[in-house]
Symmetry: D2
Subunit: 348 residues, 4 copies
């Protein structure tokens, strides 16, 4: 029972089959092949964004950092939640790619940024002169790092503030499929119709091998991005193998099927946790849950094969700690049952 991360899962068979099918003969490299054109066209359709510019690459950190570098000048500031992946887990990638831009962190319950918190944080950085740097971008993660969601209305409210401040809005969609599946909202409504300028769209955690896209809804925002991707080493030469993943992932709404499965597994896991009387920290809205439990129980579960990340939290103490459980397209009912049995077998 591996709930360590959704990127511990493998590649969905339909994605794997698409890779094999794409492996026919020669194809022009660096994205000048037919599959790449089709993949971009499919993204545009799915997002109902005929003018959008779509760039494929292989990693989520690459996608986030390059998208942010495009939206933020080197002397700019990127606002994000204190627990955003770009802050906690990318070793400074956005600052590097953007030539020294800074993150400005925002607190907020359940991993979400509230309009009030955003306004208060912007107030910390009045824009008087060149000493102040430039307030440039808000990056929201949907689904959040705490497995919660922004609705289209949530995004739109933040976007209104952002727009008023002359800033841009980026959506870190490493788990965007989970957000679409859970909210039931149209992809467009969670992004450009709500005011987002750019999206990092993640396939890797949700059934692909290595596939992310950076989508600029206004093509003017994408100017020279091709240079940026190139010099960061993120332009694949055998580009058809990125494109094939994207086409198969979107085909027949596979991406949403997989996300729905991951979300459903998380809900079942939450029910198991609740039945066992354990403490959950956040509402479970997507494919992650956070459980504060006696450390002895956690050790017991790990001895039974549980893979889950420690997630230090303010409420932890010597006896109780927090773990994060992530489900994915590949999570099985057997894993859930094994988890429940392992919990029940704890005598502590």
């Amino acid at each position: 029972m591996n709930f360590g991360s959704d990127n511990a899962s493998g590649v969905h068979p339909r994605i794997m089959a698409a890779l094999a099918a794409a492996n026919e003969g020669h194809a022009s490299s660096y994205g000048r092949d037919d599959l790449t054109a089709r993949a971009a066209a499919r993204v545009r359709e799915v997002f109902d964004a005929p003018g959008a510019e779509v760039f494929l690459l292989g990693t989520g950190t690459g996608a986030n950092a390059l998208a942010l570098a495009q939206l933020c000048p080197p002397w700019g500031r990127i606002f994000c939640h204190r627990t955003a992946h770009i802050e906690t887990s990318e070793s400074g990638a956005p600052a590097f790619m953007a030539g020294g831009a800074q993150l400005a962190l925002i607190d907020g319950a359940d991993g979400r940024i509230s309009p009030q918190a955003l306004r208060a944080r912007l107030f910390d950085y009045p824009q008087v002169d060149e000493h102040d740097g430039r307030n440039a971008v808000l990056s929201v993660t949907n689904a959040t790092e705490w497995g919660t969601l922004y609705s289209p209305a949530d995004v739109a409210e933040l976007a209104g503030i952002v727009r008023g401040a002359g800033m841009a809005l980026h959506v870190d969609g490493a788990r965007f499929a989970n957000a679409v599946a859970a909210t039931g909202a149209a992809p467009a409504d969670l992004t450009h119709c709500a005011g987002a300028d750019a999206l990092s769209l993640g396939g890797t955690k949700n059934g692909c091998m290595a596939l992310e896209a950076v989508v600029f809804f206004d093509p003017a925002r994408a100017r020279d991005f091709a240079f940026r991707r190139m010099r960061a080493g993120h332009l694949w030469s055998k580009h058809r193998f990125l494109a094939a993943q994207m086409i198969a992932w979107l085909d027949g709404e596979l991406w949403l099927q997989l996300a729905r499965h991951g979300n459903a597994m998380a809900a079942e896991l939450a029910a198991i946790v609740d039945r066992a009387g354990l403490e959950r920290l956040q509402p479970v809205e997507a494919n992650e849950l956070f459980v504060r439990a006696p450390r002895a129980l956690v050790a017991h579960l790990r001895a039974r094969g549980l893979r889950a990340a420690d997630w230090p939290d303010a409420g932890d103490d010597a006896h109780r700690g927090t773990i994060r459980l992530v489900t994915s397209w590949a999570t099985t009912g057997e894993e859930l049952r094994a988890f429940e049995e392992a919990v029940q077998s704890f005598a502590g």
Copy 2:
């Protein structure tokens, strides 16, 4: 009555005279002149640091950013107070010079970082693997941006934590003279004897025209710093004119005389403010004070010639705002009296 900033003051006559005296004939450029060697030697003496490496340059932001870049890898994190100049007023210079390093902000009353707050903030960034970046430097500002002080014991306590975490300690000494003058501590005791690795030593705010030094107490820390300064454009060609300022500034403890004057003027100004029954926000330990006053009074004072920066604070409201008053070597008794009269003339 200009309390806008200590860098609104001019150049002390003895510094000006030293510049004129240095202007004799030719001299080797780029710091290969005799005055530069003497200036570095004088800094070493004053800091009782015979092995220190001393680099002169013209701006405080240059000094801070280059010193931090030297101590922090591009994937590193620089911890500092939420109100530190490197965070609020340098447009991202440290991140730029350090190739994308990030600031991690710490809260704390009166502009000071407490050991507890530092420990808690380090806890936010466990050092598990390459996702986490590297906790690299603590930068403390002494005197602080709120006109308060760290004692040698305060610095040493923070340095102990820093050392234990494998980090380096930087002192932003834009107003270091004020700190030495106010604490009465030896320069060495406020820096390397307390565990500091590098100091940005500021002369500009305290009687010089354009003079800062970066001091590395352990010469091994200074490796290749000359390249760093050069490619940032901070190596003066007519370097003797930096050196002459430094020599004159340190000569006969001019730097401390000037700082004592600035500090004393701030104390008198605080007394005036207190006599007027106005609200002061911080203890006045160096050469700055912060006054929350009716906005009508502030407008009245400005109409009478007051120069002082607005300093937005959480306690402000529609009727009351906060201003910062800074004194310097050039502040006069006349300015204090003019301020008091202006306050008294307010009928509001």
Copy 3:
């Protein structure tokens, strides 16, 4: 008949099968899986370098730029051939990754750097003081961009100069397999035994989907490289799919078999060109050849389906131009015959 580039080829069936085989259940992400450990061990064996540090990633530009950034300080200079990929085709990636390092170009026949040319170029940059920057790295490409080779003795001679100048030696091995296959030298003899510090080892052009490795033969050279790869977004989360490619590619010397095939196809193609009386520009030592031909002939060949890059050269004129023909593991005898027939069918 696609001789456009070796990255227009697909993925070898054994690599594809390895990807499918690796797709079993969950696996720890970010390289903490068993396959990654095995892949690194295999590289060490093949290079007879038990202490080497091996990092996998997906693109050649990423591999080159990160390796060079590791070896070159931001104020350093990377010497390379005027036609090196890092100069002509990476949009400044090495300078970006290395925080502003510069390339110093070296002329040389057949895409090769001679010891004399290297010495003369180093002479251009005396190392007097900080104005001069630091001469830091020599990067040699083997096989070269002109399809020629360095022997172990060639590499060692350059390495001797490099070492004497306090510099490091990097090998851009995007086509390293072709070099090993063609020279018959042991991988160790073409790299660390000849004095190389780091190798970018390319699998993508030679049968893989997206696979490159950065190898540091002295582990001390690899310090903190993991942070560098991470913050550039080049750490794959589903890392097993890089590792699986590497294992299969090296298994049973597949990499050399494929390279031998590519090299042999180039030799046959050269023979066809020579039989047709066309002008070849370089000795054909690996898997590339350069043909200067009447523009009318080139147009005729393209109309018959030829894919080949224009390769502007000093000897071109209005009537004759140069094209580059690249063969690969996937080049077939049918393609060669089609090429010959197309040439013969030209009446011009």
Copy 4:
């Protein structure tokens, strides 16, 4: 007799007097003072460029690197002469400030770039796709590093090529005063009227203490430059002391008087060299000359007090070497006579 560099000279008395005169009372910092506004206005007048944006700072490397960073994207290429200061003597500052931009070097006699050489070099970098980077800027140095000149027509011819290629034109004017004085051309005719977009205007080598300006003739080119200067640490706080230098330097054409003197001294020195039958390498058009002489003579001159830089040249050999002699506003007739006597006293 110091001909080591024009930055070995001191500060002209009128500049020194202006610094003293500016030292009255308080003044707003960071360029919000009256003198700064006047200095900028004076530059605009002298250049007949009413819309130009003018930024003052303290070093020539800062001015060059920041100006180029403004004109060149991080993935861009800056074309310059092989002997340009930005290539040989700034430790990679332009690449650093521009986030990784690259220099493309151009050969040319007498330190000058010819239109043919520029065209040929541009041909090396076809602009096909993102692999190629962006050809962004041409930087010409006037007067050149070899003491030669571009006329307005020369600049205009290069500008035409540059414009046609979608690039910008930067003039490195560290010795621009010498160029104006020598050509007799109006400052406007050597810059914006000839097609230049930006100028680094150097005062330091020509009588100032530390003063350079970056001038953007089209204000649209200057967008956000204030942020760039700030985060590079090049915004002086006591900014009036930069402005005072500029005003005095331009006042009464002092800058041109000083440059004329330096140029005249170089012409006299050349006559001395010629009378002695020594070999001069370049026409002497501004304030530098290059002499190839027996090494024994050079040693003899140095023993007599000569300061002059060794200038390694292709024509040097074991017995003869090249030195650079630079004159300045401060060069005296006594120095020339001392030089001539020292030459005559050589018995070798």
